[in-house]
């Protein structure tokens, strides 16, 4: 079995952590275990091992030292430090503050550029259209083109209704 970190040396240090009903195993070679300070299990954090040193710390400091708890699932920064995984999708909102620098260190960017569910893409398109129409409305009102403003107002009403329908699904 190879070391989880360097993936080159034979693993000689085997750690098992049980959190709730979940078991996590980490296998390290001697050099990496020393480097990660695993010789002292009390300071050992699985999140650091899996995601890179300091990631759990960033989340911890984000709360200004105070404990943040996910309102949806009750997950805390300490849980993240132990697991290296979040509790639910809502955690990404609850821990948003410390997240960005962590994401920066592990990804190409911090904003999603890929595929999105069709329904969401549609909602996004409609809400963008709404913004555009409202801008135009402001402009024609400033220009005192009230005839055009009346047309735009009706159009905005329709688009708003469509957006509400989309969001209700």
């Amino acid at each position: 079995m190879l070391c989880n970190i360097c993936k080159q040396n034979e693993a000689t240090v085997h750690l098992t952590q049980i959190v709730g009903d979940k078991m996590q195993k980490v296998d390290l070679c001697e050099a990496c275990s020393k480097e990660k300070g695993v010789s002292d299990p009390s300071t050992f954090s699985l999140a650091d091992l899996l995601l890179g040193l300091g990631s759990a710390q960033e989340l911890e400091q984000a709360g200004g030292g105070a404990e943040i708890k996910c309102p949806q699932c009750g997950f805390t920064q300490a849980d993240f430090k132990k697991n290296g995984r979040f509790g639910c999708a809502e955690c990404y909102n609850a821990f948003a503050e410390g997240l960005e620098s962590m994401l920066k260190s592990m990804h190409k960017g911090v904003v999603h550029k890929g595929k999105m569910p069709k329904a969401i893409a549609k909602t996004r398109d409609v809400s963008e259209k709404l913004k555009k129409l409202q801008k135009e409305l402001d402009k024609v009102i400033a220009e005192e083109d009230f005839e055009r403003a009346a047309v735009l107002r009706d159009e905005i009403k329709d688009v708003k209704k469509r957006l509400e329908e989309l969001e209700a699904v």
Binding site: M1, L2, N4, K7, A11, G20, D21, K22, M23, D27, L50, L51, Q72, C73, F75, D79, N83, G84, R85, F86, G87, C88, A89, Y92, L99, M102, L103, M106, H107, K108, G109, V110, V111, H112, K113, G114, K115, M116, P117, K118, A119, I120, R124
Partner: protein, 371 residues
């Protein structure tokens, strides 16, 4: 056909090994997996067991109703015994992590094993498309279709800014892992493999062993995959890996040519010994078998075996792994007994295979004393 025996459902190895794909001398298989979660449910690692069971009950029928899953095998992980799970892992249909799961986790596989979905592994859904040879673009198209159909049946956890939300932030965004399984005996024999691994790692790609994270590269098999999932589109990630893979293939091809030019005796010696041991041993470990079969594979690629075809080598590669080996007999075998049975099968299957040729080679150079 949900509760069918998994052994009856899976494609017989002799048949599966006949499959061909582009560049399959070097690229054994291509795989794309997507991680998805359902909105409003805790991630599997944090959810309590009743929640996981409920999620499974909601997700499994949605997958089973897909047109691609017309003929499929589905099971909850507690319906499978250790041996079943081991076999599924050896066929790369489930991960090592998923093999450790029980009630509340599940699996759906289609008939030709090209699509499989793990339910409640680290994420609610881990779906993969698997293809023979170098076909990562095609595999992405396969799984993209499955995903698009599933999104109308399941409400995915998605954020316009962060993309698909996953249990581990390393998978966030696209949730995509594109990987290819490469057979690189040339680079290993030429001692260039570490350079390649380092170069590939610098590009932000991961190189792993046969069974993914934390496994060793037995049988000269390496898995190359993307690591970053956020800030790039799926197509960009696939394209990038495609380019790197082409380069690795070229390096491997060159290494093989160069080895045969510079050190033919070293190569012939390794392949001849591999044949000798595999065809005559009476006890052999799984690891040694994989490493020696890899050399036989290289021998076939170099046309050194007059009457051995690649499918037999591929078949033996899977067949001699612990799970598949155990499944051929009814009694539970210990490791020593498995080593004996493995050697028996190898001797029998290789009995009619003639020894590798050692002629048709350039006359040895004066300084060629390396044996």
């Amino acid at each position: 056909m949900s509760l069918d025996n998994i052994h009856q459902f899976l494609i017989p190895l002799a048949e599966a090994s006949q499959r061909k794909g582009p560049n399959d001398k070097i690229v054994m298989s291509s795989r794309v997996r997507l991680a998805r979660n359902v909105r409003g449910l805790a991630f599997p690692g944090w959810a309590k067991k009743p929640e996981r069971v409920k999620a499974l009950e909601q997700i499994q029928p949605a997958i089973e109703s897909l047109p691609q899953m017309k003929k499929h095998y589905a099971a909850s992980m507690d319906q499978l015994n250790t041996l079943d799970k081991q076999i599924l892992m050896e066929r790369h249909l489930i991960s090592r992590e998923h093999a450790a799961k029980n009630a509340g986790s599940g699996l759906v596989v289609n008939k030709d094993e090209s699509l499989s979905v793990m339910i409640n592994e680290e994420d609610h859904l881990r779906m993969q498309a698997l293809r023979r040879g170098f076909q990562i673009k095609e595999a992405w198209e396969d799984i993209d279709k499955v995903d698009s159909q599933l999104e109308s049946k399941l409400d995915y956890a998605f954020s316009p800014k962060l993309g698909y939300l996953t249990a581990c932030p390393t998978n966030l965004g696209t949730g995509i892992r594109v990987s290819a399984m490469l057979h690189l005996p040339g680079l290993v024999l030429a001692d260039q493999i570490n350079q390649i691994i380092q170069a590939v790692s610098k590009l932000g790609l991961a190189v792993r062993g046969l069974h993914g994270e934390g496994t060793s590269a037995d049988g000269n098999v390496f898995q190359v995959s993307n690591q970053m999932t956020l800030g790039q589109s799926e197509t960009e990630i696939v394209e990038r890996l495609n380019k790197v893979l082409f380069q690795i293939i070229e390096h491997e091809e060159n290494a093989r040519i160069k080895l045969m030019e510079d050190k033919p005796k070293v190569v012939l010696n390794q392949i001849g010994r591999a044949y000798g041991v595999l065809a005559n041993a009476h006890s052999i470990s799984s690891k040694e078998t994989m490493n020696l079969l890899s050399l036989m594979h290289l021998g076939v690629d170099l046309q050194l075996f007059p009457n051995l075809e690649r499918p037999l080598v591929d078949e033996l590669f899977i067949m001699t792994q612990p799970g598949h080996l155990q499944s051929t007999v009814t009694d539970k075998l210990g490791a020593d007994e498995r080593d004996v049975l493995r050697a028996d099968i190898l001797r029998e299957r290789l009995a009619k295979v003639d020894r590798p040729i050692s002629t048709q080679l350039p006359p040895p150079a004066d300084n060629d004393k390396a044996v």
